[in-house]
């Protein structure tokens, strides 16, 4: 059994100047890249497949399999694009990682690029994360100077350039195909798949888009091997994962634990509920993952565990809300977010989120009717699975789960209008 907290990605964070190359190299940094470049791309893809590493951006797709989709030939340039557009409400793991240990991401980029025969890697960072952009640029500069980037890296004959690219404020660009459109200098709108990015991605060339935490894991897997990685976490969801605990807990923060850790265990580490006020609802992995309640304290938080309990692991953004928070209000706030961030490409999402927000605003304002609850669910049915990307699906999660677990709170909002109706009849 692994320890409750397993610092791998976070192990250098306590070191002074952890973001500088000197610190990184003193703490095993850039050892994995030597080992990787001495092997073959096929060996690296096999290693990542064996490790069972699953995408840390929310979907949990096996990283090694994704890498293996890249064509073996180089008829067109290959691209690795890092999704550092962290914006899912509640999610705050990649930004601290890039600030604290940017070189782990850079080293991961070199390894992954070599494995996928890419010679140009882009790190698409959310524009609001200026300090990360600065740290990444400095890390790229240091790595270039040290010979880890550029031409003929460490005498291997492998060339790689990394470009740090700032976004401009659009949640949708966290969706991989919207991100690619944005990186091409367009409005960030999702593409219809297939073709998948491995066939036609950036500039219609073979492209893999991976999350920051996924790629930052690569150097550790190269050094430790797949069996070591599997000593943490569960069979189908191995490895450590950064759980970001926020909200009404005594000690919010970043906790890197083996996958499958439960909220009960996380709360115990995080000092319990703030001021002892009881838990009411929480998200396992951001606002797009259906909410959980006190019933779900012992659900193992890995990809299977969260799904079996009716939600999704998402980004392990554990947002904790106590009894003082109104569920319909929280759902309204999240819905306003999705309405604002819907890119407008697909009608169900664009129109649906617009009307959902208005209905919820009216209900929270005390002018709702019981029929509104059915309308909300009906609109949700007409959004779910009916758009190009998952933004619309995410938008319905808080509403459907909120009504499922807290219907009486939505009903209570309609009490006043009910009385008015009774009065009108009298």
């Amino acid at each position: 059994m692994a320890d409750p907290i397993t610092p791998v990605l976070t192990k250098r964070w306590l070191s002074p100047n952890s973001w500088q190359i000197a610190t990184y190299e003193a703490l095993e940094g850039y050892t994995a890249v030597r080992k990787a470049l001495a092997g073959t791309p096929e060996q690296l893809v096999q290693l990542v497949k064996d490790s069972g590493l699953r995408g840390r951006g929310g979907a949990g797709f096996p990283a090694g399999i994704k890498w293996s989709f890249m064509p073996p030939n180089e008829d067109k340039p290959h691209y690795l694009v890092i999704n550092a557009d962290e914006g899912e409400p509640g999610t705050c793991k990649d930004i601290p990682l890039m600030m604290a240990d940017p070189h782990s991401l850079i080293e991961g980029c070199i390894i992954a690029s070599y494995a996928m025969r890419s010679h140009h890697c882009f790190i698409y960072v959310r524009g609001e994360a200026l300090h990360c952009i600065r740290r990444l640029n400095a890390a790229v500069r240091e790595a270039e100077k040290a010979g880890y980037l550029g031409e003929n890296i460490l005498g291997s004959g492998f060339d790689l350039k990394i470009t740090v690219h700032a976004g401009a404020g659009a949640y949708i660009c966290g969706e991989e195909t919207a991100l690619l459109d944005s990186l091409e200098g367009r409005r960030g709108q999702p593409r219809l798949k297939p073709p998948f990015p491995a066939a036609a991605g950036l500039y219609a060339a073979p492209t893999t888009v991976n999350n920051v935490e996924t790629i930052a894991s690569a150097p550790f897997i190269v050094n430790g091997g797949s069996s070591w990685f599997r000593e943490m976490g569960r069979e189908k969801s191995p490895g450590p994962k950064i759980y970001s605990i926020s909200g009404h807990v005594e000690l919010p923060g970043q906790y890197e634990c083996p996958l499958g850790t439960t909220l009960r265990e996380l709360l115990d580490m995080a000092g319990g509920m703030k001021d002892g006020i009881p838990l009411k609802f929480w998200t396992p992995g951001g606002s797009s993952t259906p909410m959980f309640t006190v019933e779900h304290l012992d659900v193992p938080l890995d990809f299977e565990g969260a799904a079996e309990a009716g939600s999704m692991l998402g980004t392990t953004a554990v947002q904790v809300f106590n009894e003082t928070v109104s569920v319909p209000w929280a759902v309204m706030k999240w819905t306003q977010f999705y309405e604002h961030e819907s890119c407008g490409k697909c009608t169900p999402c664009r129109e649906g989120t617009y009307w959902l927000a208005q209905i919820l605003e009216r209900m929270v304002d005390g002018h709702g009717t019981e029929e509104d609850i059915d309308t909300l669910l009906d609109v949700c049915d007409n959004i779910l699975g009916r758009s190009f990307c998952a933004l619309g699906d995410g938008a319905v999660s808080p509403i459907q789960s909120g009504i499922k677990y807290f219907r009486e709170e939505f009903l209570a909002l309609c009490e006043s209008t009910k009385r008015e109706l009774v009065g009108a009849q009298a």
Binding site: P89, E128, A166, G185, R187, S246, Q254
Partner: protein, 246 residues
Amino acid sequence: MTQAPEEVLFDAEIVSKAADLIGRYPESRSALLPLLHLVQSVQGYVSQEGISFCARQLDLSDAEVSAVATFYTMYKRKPCGEHLVSVCTNTLCAAMGGDAIYKKLQTHLGSEEKPLGHNETAGTPNEPGSITLEHAECLAACDLAPVIQVNYEYYDNQTEEKAVALVDALQAGKKPAPTRGAPLSSFKAAELQLAGFFPDDEIQYRKDVDGPSQAVETLRGAKIAQDRGWVAPVAKDVPLPEVEKK
């Protein structure tokens, strides 16, 4: 011959920076987002002239650039103040006090009768001490809620009192240090960095990069593990797996 308005606004240095940005990408249009940050660093917003400038650099139409500029919230369509104050009012920050902070700043920077609206400016844009206020979507600092950003530097764990003191200081021409980020400069200076240009002066460059980031919350799990002696399993150096040669 009179110069086109954008030639007066965007001098030779900006033209050369634009060329530098375009050179960083395999296809020129990829430089559009950085270019829009660049024109914003000159004017404090994306003006019609800024749109034309980007269009000319990339051989696009003004309409194509406008379509992009209006899609992203960080491109401002009205001149911004010296500082941009963004208050997170997404659900978690809002529940932790973000909504109250935003309301307080609206009336504090405006008045009870006429609170300052979203993306409105207190003071005269481009003049020292002027502040543009906005409510922002999740700023990815939920463990430090409620958060505010000034020119995209983090001011974490805010309260109404702290937020008022912060904007008062900004209006008085002071530059309070962020809890995470580089020493505070201005919205325009931040936009230049977002475009991809960092200080040439090495001391200033390091000062920016080395600005604080190690918040208690960020390090919390690592610290608890250290205190309790919890570690990841020990990794042994194992060779890469053997695979059949293709």
